[in-house]
Symmetry: C2
Subunit: 163 residues, 2 copies
DNA sequence: ACAAGATAGCTGCCCAGGCAGACATTGTTG
DNA sequence: CAACAATGTCTGCCTGGGCAGCTATCTTGT
């Protein structure tokens, strides 16, 4: 029920959530990509693969929403995964606009093989956090995400193009 | 002291910190940019401006570190701010490699004028969070950032080029 | 004092991803 | 059923920012 957590005269960048998130993102993503440098797929591609495997997504549009990309970027991402034989496109019969994606056996194998790399990284990072702290962080971030989403929905009613 | 928070067989993307951070970043940054769409500077430029004003940074390299960009991107960012007369470059006398940056009166005015937009956004987002929760989130994220930094430093001893 | 290594800044090149537009299909409303 | 809006996919085009390479300067070890 905080009316105003941040006030103009006491505001400091270092305590700004946007700053912390941006910083974390700019630190983590390139490092995750580096962990995959010797691999045939990139970290970003792996994320898409795992989301398909876990049933969080099943179409191009799903992946775009899941990853916060636009649909154009996603098409090209899926192209690459298809070229490498990690997934297949099938035009849906129920809704012919839709192209359903499904992992091939090799896609499944790749997704599984690379998971430990990421988990190891995170487990190393979290060594000094108690299990409770991590859970709290995850819970707060999840709620924050929801709050950001609804705030953006409230303000930015922009006619979407490809998103 | 958590040895392994994430385990291969119980891992779910939705509870992955990387996923949450990426998602938040991809949601917040474009929206922040949109808040500045009618403005003469971008959100990213504003962040640099504020960091200079608050003494968190004073050179190009500082800004690169602060924002997690590389030095090339920062040069161009500073170019634009200089072109608009919001800051000035001065070759340092103590260390002649360094170019010191300082805000002009106009730069100061712009930084100040735009601050309320961002704070309002965040205060709206945080309406349903208690003050204590926000503080906890900030504290955990700050610690996470430190942990990520030292983990990356431990692993990735790569000869830096421009970073 | 000098070679080797860091560090600051700049530039050219490249690419992932955003934007906008096209098209097909489906849903909705009169 | 006609008109219109919404959704899914794909394609050009463009830009921000990463990378590598260069110079100039400072620092450190011998």
């Amino acid at each position: 029920m905080t009316r105003k957590y941040y006030k103009v005269d006491t505001f400091q960048s270092r305590r700004a959530l946007g700053y912390l998130i941006r910083r974390a993102h700019n630190l983590i993503v390139p490092h995750a990509e580096a962990l995959f440098a010797d691999q045939e797929i990139t970290f970003t591609q792996w994320v898409a693969l795992v989301s398909l495997r876990d049933g969080l997504t099943s179409t191009c549009a799903d992946i775009a929403r899941h990853m916060g990309h636009d649909s154009g970027a996603t098409t090209r991402l899926v192209d690459q995964l298809e070229d490498r034989g990690l997934l297949t496109r099938t035009r849906s019969k129920a809704d012919r606009r839709v192209v359903n994606l499904s992992l091939t056996a090799e896609g499944r194998a790749v997704a599984k093989a690379l998971t430990p790399r990421i988990l190891e990284f995170w487990n190393n990072v979290l060594t000094d956090f108690s299990s409770h702290e991590v859970t709290t962080l995850i819970e707060l971030l999840t709620r924050l995400l929801g709050a950001v989403e609804s705030e953006i929905a409230k303000t930015g009613q922009r006619a979407g193009s490809g998103k």
